[in-house]
């Protein structure tokens, strides 16, 4: 039987200050919370940038900010939301929930996991530090050549961008190796691949995309850095014969898989929420798995649909059009399966379900305008207009952010042991749904009327005025919605109801353990006999809700030891990159003393890390 409830002193590592505890933690749950907290702050910064952009565009001929600062705003907004908000908020869920969902004590490489986080955080701070110097990246989030070259972007702005993304890429690749290995190798007994929760599948597919696409952007950014700092001319069209198109190809070979990296976890979260709140299993499980894998596969063969306007010729245009349209099939399969899950279900209208339903509706609309872009001749009309802005916000905000918010409401009780307020959650939902559509739906029209994206301002009399005013009001509504969320979090923190282990009647293993989970997750590794493992256990026990699991002693359980080396390694990497930027202002040998110091610190930290014992029993 379960060991008796224990004194809470065992729940945390004693005799370590809280700060040291967090700086050296290798616990996937703490790292998940660190990811979530940092990413949410970056999300607020990116949101604030969006609000300033909308205020600048609210009326014609506005000069709220300077044109130069406006360029920085839209570049930083895109870069921040993609790399510093959606990806790391997804990473929060990967970290906290993948081990719980597969019945593991931690990820395969806990210290590498800590390093991923610190590298991400330092990279994010590095990029944002540029704002303080009034030298934020200003060449758009895809940094097209030759605009990004030293000739046309003489400041350090695009160096911050190229080197910052390089740092973030290291974090993503390390996490990619880690989670790919974790999911394949750390599953509880009986958890076969086809019994894994759909969220775990989505993470696995996401990591494959990361592993195969990030190396390409790494190389592209190396070349951009070489062009800017070491007098190379990979992308500069000059006597040497460099080709700006090479940048576009390399960037989008990464960039298109990247948009699936942003949306796959959203698919996974919604696929967890819908069955629980419909009280029936996910419809068409294996079709969902294979369509996700198929989307990922096709995702590597459609990059040039971002480049129809470059004149690639009819053959390439046709190929990439057809491949892109093909993606609508597995995507449609997923949408019908979600609807099939809801169909005939006993729907529990809680906040997570609201956001999940919002996701389905908004994502369908984004998907439909996506198919419109797949038609190359139509795309020539839409490209670089606000129509495109409308499209990708419907998939990235209406898709990813709605789903991540659903996930936040769904998993909050497990992460923090308290329930977010339902009433405020629904206020948040309606403000977000209305605000979102008010912001982005008019952009379809204003885009087709000819308003270019990234434009600083516009004269009146072009028919843009009303639409832009509506978009700005919508954006402010969205902002209010997130203020409600923040208020909800603060209130829950202080007075929220304590969450039981299984507040929603969950189907998966994380709901079998206390909220929040103890450091070792599962005192004893669970054994899985079928899909929806917890529902199976409840059926076997003949109950609807299992008895509240007691806290247990972790005595004797081996857990990975805390370590400083992941943090030091991350600083080494940051210092190396800063060294390139500082040295980049001068000629000569590419690596100055700062970079050399960064390399030495990284190498030293990795060396010490390798010889540090992996784990220790929690008994003292």
């Amino acid at each position: 039987m379960a060991t008796a409830a224990l004194d809470p002193a065992h729940a945390t590592s004693p005799k370590r200050s809280v700060l040291v505890d967090w700086l050296t933690t290798v616990d996937h749950k703490k790292i998940g919370i660190l990811y979530g907290a940092s990413a949410f702050i970056f999300f607020l910064i990116g949101g604030l940038e969006a609000e300033v952009i909308r205020l600048q565009l609210m009326k014609p001929d506005t000069h709220l900010v300077s044109p130069e600062f406006y360029n920085q705003l839209f570049t930083m907004h895109g870069t921040t939301m993609i790399f510093l908000a959606v990806m790391p908020i997804s990473a929060m869920f990967f970290n906290f929930f993948v081990p719980l969902l597969i019945g593991a004590r931690d990820v395969a490489f806990p210290r590498l996991n800590a390093m991923s986080f610190w590298v991400f955080l330092l990279g994010g701070l590095f990029i944002n530090a540029s704002l303080l110097m009034n030298a934020a990246p200003n060449g758009g989030w895809f940094g097209y050549a030759p605009l990004s070259s030293r000739q046309y972007s003489p400041g350090v702005n695009m160096d911050f961008w190229a080197l910052g993304l390089q740092i973030l890429g290291i974090a993503s690749l390390a996490a990619g190796v880690n989670f790919f290995t974790t999911i394949l190798n750390m599953r509880a007994p009986g958890m076969t691949l086809m019994r894994m929760p759909m969220f775990v599948w989505s993470v696995l597919v996401t990591q494959v995309l990361v592993l195969l696409s990030f190396p390409v952007i790494t190389i592209a950014l190396v070349m951009l850095t070489a062009d800017r700092n070491f007098h190379a001319s990979f992308f500069s069209y000059n006597v040497a014969g460099g080709d700006p198109m090479l940048w576009q190809h390399l960037f989008w070979v990464f960039g298109h898989p990247e948009v699936y990296i942003l949306i796959m976890p959203a698919f996974g979260i919604v696929s967890e929420i819908l069955p629980v709140f419909s009280r029936k299993p996910l419809f068409g499980y294996s079709a969902m798995v294979f369509s996700m894998a198929f989307i990922a596969f096709l995702g590597f063969g459609v990059w040039s649909h971002h480049m129809f306007a470059t004149g690639m010729g009819p053959l390439a245009d046709s190929f990439f059009s057809l491949m892109t349209m093909l993606i609508a099939i597995p995507t449609g399969v997923k949408i019908f399966n979600w609807i099939g899950t809801l169909w005939g279900g006993s729907l529990q209208f809680k906040t997570p379900l609201y956001f999940a339903l919002g996701f389905i509706a908004m994502f369908i609309m984004g998907g439909l305008s996506g198919v419109m872009h797949a038609v190359a001749p139509a795309d020539l009309q839409q490209t670089d207009s606000y129509f495109v802005v409308a499209h990708f916000h419907y998939v990235l905000f209406g898709g990813s952010i709605f789903s991540l918010t659903a996930g936040a409401y769904y998993w909050w009780p497990k992460m923090f042991g308290r329930m977010l307020d339902e009433g405020l959650g629904k206020v948040h939902f309606w403000l977000m749904l209305i605000g979102f559509n008010l912001t982005f739906f008019p952009m379809h029209f204003v885009g087709l009327l000819g308003m270019p994206r990234r434009i600083y301002t516009y004269p009146s009399g072009l028919g843009f005025d009303g639409y832009n005013m509506a978009s700005t009001i919508g954006a402010l509504t969205l902002g209010v919605g997130f203020l409600v969320f923040i208020y909800n979090v603060i209130r829950t923190w202080r007075t929220g109801a304590h969450a039981p282990a299984d507040p929603w009647g969950g189907a998966t293993l994380e709901w079998a353990i206390p909220s929040p989970p103890q450091e070792w997750n599962f005192a004893v590794e669970p054994t899985v006999t079928e899909k929806d493992a917890l529902w199976a256990m409840k059926r076997a026990a003949g109950v609807k809700v299992l008895p509240e699991p007691p806290l247990v002693s972790g005595k004797g359980i081996h857990l990975p030891s805390p370590s400083w080396w992941p943090l030091f390694t991350s600083f080494g990497i940051l210092i190396f990159m800063v060294g390139i930027m500082v040295k980049g202002e001068t000629h000569g040998f590419p690596f100055g003393p700062i970079s050399v110091f960064g390399v030495l610190l990284t190498a030293f930290s990795i060396f010490k890390w390798s010889y540090q014992p992996v784990d220790h029993p929690t008994s003292h």
């Binding site: 750390m186 005192a523 081996h558």
Partner: protein, 207 residues
């Protein structure tokens, strides 16, 4: 059963704990990393092939490449892949002498290869081919420089293991430490087997 989830009598240290795929996680991870690295080198090699003939200013492949030297380097690198297998075999058998001999030879090969590249690059500089002389030079140096960095890191890694082996820290049950490094080493070699014909031979024998 809920009791089954919570029941807990003794700790199961995860060393004995079988993994889902019955393969060590570190081995799976290095294979995963190698898979990712393929795309890394694919992007570099593709770029080189695109810019191979962009040498309107400064020297081109035929002016600088010294095939005999690079052939020697290639041979050394290929042999090192064999040597590291012998070293691994020694580690698995618990044959310390065999392990030390073959691992030392592998590290020597790595050093020789890096030295060969430094010599080769220095020669190119003297022939007027700097990093940014033309796009052929830039993409050549970027590709082979990154490969050389990989070799250098591998040499450092194997050198560290050689130190461990010397101190008797690689008993048969820890041979995996060497096997992982060896997998990486083989990969670096395989990349060179692509680079040697694509970069050196094809550039020379192209029209």
């Amino acid at each position: 059963m809920t009791a089954a989830v919570l029941d807990h009598d003794s700790a199961d240290a995860h060393e004995e704990h079988p993994t889902s795929l019955r393969i060590d996680s570190r081995k799976l991870a290095i294979w995963t990393f190698i898979g990712s690295e393929c795309l890394f080198f694919a992007a570099l090699i593709t770029t080189f092939v695109i810019y191979r003939n962009s040498h309107a200013t400064g020297p081109g492949p035929k002016d600088v490449f010294e095939v005999p030297l690079v052939t020697a380097g290639t041979a050394v690198l290929l042999f090192s892949s064999f040597f590291v297998v012998m070293a691994l075999n020694g580690a698995q058998e618990g044959n310390r002498k065999k392990l030390l001999l073959w691992l030392s030879l592998t590290v020597l090969c790595g050093c020789f290869f890096v030295g060969m590249q430094v010599y080769e690059f220095t020669g190119f500089m003297h022939k007027g081919m700097g990093y940014s002389t033309n796009l052929f030079a830039t993409s050549f140096f970027t590709l082979t420089g990154f490969h050389g960095t990989h070799v250098a890191i591998g040499t450092l890694w194997l050198g560290t293991l050689l130190k461990d082996a010397y101190k008797g820290r690689i008993p048969p049950n820890k041979a995996l430490n060497l096997e992982i490094a060896a997998l990486y080493w083989h990969f670096v070699d395989v990349v060179w087997i692509i680079i040697f014909p694509v970069v050196y031979l094809m550039s020379l024998f192209a029209k």
